[in-house]
Chain length 129, copies 2
DNA sequence: TGCATATATGCAAGTATTTGCAGACATTTA
DNA sequence: TAAATGTCTGCAAATACTTGCATATATGCA
């Protein structure tokens, strides 16, 4: 199999993991450091069993790693730059805005950015009518 | 709804579209310019009805745009930087390599970066889904 | 006009993901 | 040790995606 094909498959898997709103939010919450399941569940307003499931999927794919302390399980991103890369994807959402105004995007970007990380995001672009 | 939640949803949709190997390859093929359905189908070795379906999905989400000329429909990326951003995702695949060696990744990266056209570069590979 | 080519679309069957819930474990505390 | 807390896992129902195939539409040409 041509390596491009292999790589496309791997990439598709990567995208699949990240293509769930809850998981995206989890990754963004973990951007600033490790957190335990319950905190995450409260932040996202989700049942912690659900959060645990998402984390377990991400763990299986090595997006996050676990570290236990007492009865709590702390998770952290194995590749923190992942969060930045995801945010960059916002540039491509901008064009096709559907329920999201440019204001919303900037606000979201600012919020996520807020608590400090790295990277810069390239700016707008226009699509077609 | 908090804008972070909205943005996460939009991002998830974006990722969903891109989370199919065929679509990733299509995007990469279109990176170098517009192409018609048949050519794309031949490049990816897929039935053109399938390619057409993928393109139609991506069109609906404004990832690509169509331009007709005679009986052929040419497609191009509305946001060419999308292809680059996708390739950057390879960095996050590297860690979790499953069937893909760092060599494969570099090769794939080089091919795409370069002038990646047709197939032909095969790499040893073994089943491990 | 009739026929071939290029694309698009619809649908059904197969497959995968998501979600809610119930229980299972492990750890801490009374 | 029992009870409480934090997290994980399993399962079934609902939902969404993918795929193959048949058919529809549109264009070009003899």
């Amino acid at each position: 199999m041509p390596s491009r094909t292999i790589a496309a498959k791997e990439l598709a898997e990567l995208f699949k993991i990240v293509s769930h709103p809850d998981r995206i939010r989890l990754i963004e919450e973990l951007r600033t450091g490790e957190k335990d399941v319950k905190s995450l569940a409260e932040m996202l307003e989700l049942p912690s069993a659900r959060v645990s499931q998402h984390l377990s999927l991400m763990r299986a794919h090595r997006f996050v790693a676990e570290e236990r302390s007492g009865r709590r399980h702390f998770y952290h991103l194995t590749q923190p730059e992942l969060a930045d890369w995801i945010i960059e994807g916002l540039s491509f959402v901008e064009g096709r805005l559907k329920g999201l105004s440019p204001r919303d995007i900037n606000e979201a970007r600012a919020l996520w950015r807020a608590n400090g990380s790295s990277t810069s995001i390239s700016t707008p672009q226009e699509g077609s009518p």
